[in-house]
């Protein structure tokens, strides 16, 4: 079937008015030799019940959801309050376009304005855009923005930055004459200060550090920020686990110039990796170089407050090739969900949730490192993830856990060769004590 609302009579009358005898005639403006003379080879149309069954079967082929999982690494399972699903699924939020006509889009625009405010409050920055695709592309956009701001060719990216973020940045800068150098991590799991100093020079456009980093470790942002600024380089902080902002110091408070990252933790399910929510915030003085849409406050002709998309002279539809980014469609609906999530939790809820993550990860780390042969690979303080080192092949450990219905952690061999005997575990507020204990007991048996 198709979602067509015309009757046969409608079609006939419409063709009459146009002055043609058939729909085919309307395609007379196409050369015959490119017209398809056969039917497309697609599955025949499904009715609604058939479609639902088809997708239920596909969904059921994902055995993952029947497992107890400790995967994180840039994609987190957190509690999502019912109001978020209920409100965000309203057609008025789900089915409008980008708010180009502000008079009939005040709901979306005000929500974006609230979102921008919340992101500024959480990151401690002056200005936030309306969203970017995801954390990886937000990091890439941040690198390009730094390069536009000071014109220097070199970016120093922590090796403890999410591997997929680093890959995405490399893809983005490949043809642009921007160079990426990586800064090693030390035994604490965080950026090695010596190595940062070794790489920092007058060509450095920006230093990019993730905190909590890919290993879960909380980085010494203040120190690295001062070092970057001491070399006239910008300091970019990436946050892949936004829930940490509920309790950890805002990157803006240590002097970061750009804060970017992934806010999937705010009301978005794992969803096999998307759609998620890239965010970016910066200092006021860099406003004109910020990529993406921005909502701003103004007044209507009667003097009443209203909101519009603003500062569009930065954007592709006005500036074309001179725009700050090519982004057009962003992740507005995901930002709306994040707004609902944050306003539901409030400062106390966010903090409570974040502290529970720290407490539970700490408990899990204690339980798991008590298992014979298992060690914490790094010494630094963590948020909700940590790296464990195993006395034998990680794959066999993973397989042993799988046999007991447990997935996790994430073997690190394919991301860091030197961590081939390690795996990354994530514990959030949704994991119960019993589940952590089950993991610990399973590990004892697997390693026996």
């Amino acid at each position: 079937m198709s979602y067509i609302a015309l009757s046969d009579q409608d079609k006939k009358e419409m063709l009459d008015r146009i002055g043609v005898s058939s729909v085919d005639e309307l395609f007379g403006c196409l050369p015959d030799e490119i017209k398809l003379t056969r039917k497309l080879v697609l599955r025949e149309a499904m009715t609604e019940p058939e479609l639902i069954r088809c997708f239920e079967e596909l969904s059921a082929k994902n055995g993952y959801i029947d497992h107890l999982s400790f995967l994180g690494a840039g994609n987190y399972r957190h509690f999502i309050p019912s109001v978020v699903d209920s409100l965000s699924s309203r057609g008025e939020f789900l089915t409008p376009y980008t708010p180009y006509q502000p008079e009939v889009s005040q709901g979306t625009l005000q929500a974006i304005f609230e979102y921008q405010t919340l992101i500024c409050q959480l990151t401690g920055m002056d200005i936030s855009n309306a969203s970017l695709y995801d954390g990886a592309t937000a990091a890439a956009e941040a690198v390009l923005m730094a390069n536009r701001l000071n014109g220097k060719p070199k970016i120093l990216a922590a090796r403890s930055l999410h591997p997929q973020y680093r890959e995405t940045i490399r893809t983005y800068v490949k043809n642009l004459g921007v160079r990426i150098e990586e800064v090693a991590f030390g035994d604490c799991g965080g950026v090695k200060t010596d190595d940062l100093l070794k790489h920092l020079d007058k060509d450095t456009s920006a230093v990019l550090v993730q905190s909590p980093n890919f290993f879960g470790a909380v980085e010494e942002l203040k120190k690295f920020c001062d070092l970057a600024h001491g070399h006239q380089a910008l300091f970019i902080v990436a946050v892949a686990e936004a829930a940490s902002l509920g309790v950890l110091e805002a990157p803006g408070a240590v002097g970061a110039d750009i804060v970017c990252g992934e806010a999937q933790s705010f009301g978005l399910a794992p969803s096999f990796g998307g759609p998620h929510l890239g965010f970016m915030a910066c200092k006021k003085e860099h406003l004109r170089q910020l990529p993406g849409r921005i909502a701003g406050q103004t007044k209507d002709v009667d003097g009443r407050r209203g909101f519009v998309l603003t500062l569009s002279t930065r954007e592709q539809h006005i500036r074309r090739e001179k725009a700050t980014s090519n982004i057009c469609t962003n992740q507005a609906w995901c930002a709306l969900r994040a707004t609902m999530f944050l306003e539901t939790l409030g400062p106390d809820g966010l903090r409570d949730m974040a502290v529970q993550n720290i407490q539970k990860a700490d408990y899990a780390l204690g339980r798991l490192t008590a298992v014979r042969g298992v060690k914490a690979r790094f010494s630094g303080r963590v948020f909700n993830e940590f790296v464990l080192q195993f006395p034998r092949d990680v794959r066999s450990v993973e397989a042993g856990l799988r046999a007991k219905g447990i997935v996790g952690g994430l073997g690190l061999k394919e991301f860091y060769l030197e961590l081939a005997d390690c795996a990354l575990f994530c514990v959030t507020e949704v994991h119960t004590k019993a589940e952590v204990d089950r993991l610990a007991a399973a590990l004892v048996e697997v390693l026996r």
Binding site: L36, K61, G63, L94, G273, D300, S325, Q356, V407
Partner: protein, 482 residues
């Protein structure tokens, strides 16, 4: 009408809308010691659940949307978003799956990716698709990177990308972001690519021509094969912006026209909801020769099971994390499976019928700069109304009073005062007629009572907003003591 306050303005200390379980592990009192802990989050809102629900419900009522009515935003393809697609995209195996889960535990999701890749290959006549790009613009960028990688692999990197003057702004921006210099190709009197100008500019320094087909006027590039020949003869590639694929599905296929690389917007052609500005999804389709360069990972089939293939040395790399906007991909697949091969064709046929009905019904009232036949959209301008001092902006704002969303404004740039109308296939005759009647009324008002148009809208939550002031003195967040 009272404006809904900002949430920050109704916040009060100690109010709660959340309930989290008590910590069930032994609490370590000094667990925060040694961590850089923040003092608080100044002015972060605190509200009760009922206030929150009413806040967003009232905000939602200030939005126009496809579920409310006709949304003829040209080149945005605002069609009905089926409810069943939301239902299936909400299934637990899709929503709950972690993207780094072992492949054997997410076979269903990998199959979804493969099913959509295959369906898009057939619909577009291409040989491989990547679903990774997050939206159309990222698809364009990915496409340009593929072109770049291909030229580079052949040892002949090039510097220039040609783009018609009627193109969407993301085209030049995406080419530029890939390191290319952009050159414009002129449109001829039909609104299509000027072949002479193209032939003149098409040198061995040109990496690709980015063409939108049908173009932003809704006009099909009749000479698309000749265009492809001109580009290919000099060793360049033909990139197609597939934003307007809704006019072509089941009728003809870009791959059969000589297109080498194309992006498609799932949130346009395949009806995934636009969510007030995203998420979208911008899959990129290619001919076989580009396949080695596609982003990693690729879904592959080995021994009857789906796997993710990362071992692709020629790949341009990732363009984002994980595999794309997966739930959007699920919804697009659901749309295609519902329509089937006949429905996919009927979709294009009806979209074109509706657009031509509108065009014919309004061509006495509004000026058509290009009288060339059009497909899924038509671009009028305010030229006739300008005689009475009425601009396309006035026309758009008056439409709001009359209960429909305005068309796309002031684009393409080659039509001054443009009103770009795209009805899509899902609209009823009644909705089309109401829109036509509203446009006719406005044409009459432009002559008889232009002041009604200039002061429009009259019946919206807010009236005409001062966009200049917003840009001159940017207020982009709420602050306590402003």
């Amino acid at each position: 009408m009272n404006r809904e306050p900002l949430i920050f303005e109704v916040s009060a200390k100690g109010k709660k809308a959340y309930r989290l379980p008590k910590l069930d592990v032994p609490a370590k009192p000094d667990v925060l010691e040694g961590l850089p802990v923040r003092a608080g989050i100044p002015d972060f809102p605190e509200v009760s659940e009922v206030e929150l629900v009413r806040h967003f419900t009232r905000l939602s009522q200030q939005n126009y949307c496809v579920d409310i009515g006709f949304y003829p935003l040209g080149s945005c393809t605002m069609k009905y978003n089926p409810k069943v697609n939301e239902r299936v995209a909400g299934l637990p195996g899709f929503v709950g799956a972690h993207p780094l889960a072992p492949a054997d535990l997410v076979q269903g999701n990998l199959e979804v990716l493969k099913l959509l890749e295959d369906a898009l290959c057939e619909i577009a006549g291409m040989e491989a698709f990547t679903l990774q790009p997050s939206a159309g613009a990222q698809g364009e960028l990915t496409g340009m990177m593929l072109v770049h990688a291909s030229h580079e692999a052949a040892g002949r990197p090039r510097k220039v990308v040609l783009i018609p003057d009627s193109a969407h702004g993301t085209n030049p921006s995406s080419a530029h972001l890939c390191g290319y210099t952009v050159q414009e190709v002129k449109s001829n009197e039909n609104g299509t690519v000027d072949l002479e100008d193209l032939a003149k500019r098409m040198t061995e320094d040109v990496a690709a021509l980015m063409v939108t087909n049908p173009n932003t006027l809704g006009v099909f590039e009749y000479d698309i094969r000749k265009i492809a020949d001109i580009v290919h003869a000099k060793g360049g590639f033909l990139y197609m912006d597939g934003a307007n694929m809704n006019a072509l599905t089941g009728i003809c296929r870009p791959g059969d026209m000589g297109v080498d690389v194309i992006h498609i917007n799932l949130h346009k052609t395949f009806s995934t909801p636009h969510g007030g500005g995203g998420p979208g999804s911008g899959p990129v389709g290619v001919k076989k020769v580009f396949e080695p360069f596609l982003p990693v990972p690729r879904v592959a089939r080995r021994d009857g099971a789906f796997v993710l293939d990362f071992d692709r040395p020629k790949s341009i790399g990732r363009v984002r994390s994980f595999y794309g906007n997966f739930l959007v991909i699920v919804k697009a697949l659901a749309y295609i499976l519902t329509l089937g091969p006949d429905g996919v064709r009927e979709m294009a046929e009806t979209a074109v019928l509706n657009a031509n009905y509108i065009r014919k019904s309004l061509d006495k009232d509004y000026y058509l700069k290009y009288t060339t036949p059009t497909l899924h959209e038509c671009v009028f301008s305010d030229k006739i109304q300008k005689e009475n001092g009425i601009s396309n902006l006035d026309i758009a704002k008056r439409l709001i009073d009359l209960g429909v969303h305005p068309p796309t404004m002031s684009f393409p740039l080659i039509v001054h005062g443009a009103l770009m109308i795209e009805p899509t296939e899902t609209e009823s005759r009644r909705d089309l007629d109401q829109f036509i009647e509203a446009m006719k009324q406005i044409a009459r008002e432009a002559k008889e009572s232009p002041e009604v148009l200039k002061s429009a809208p009259h019946d919206s939550y807010v009236r005409r907003l001062d966009e200049t002031a917003a840009a001159r003195n940017p207020i982009v967040k709420w602050e306590k003591n402003r």
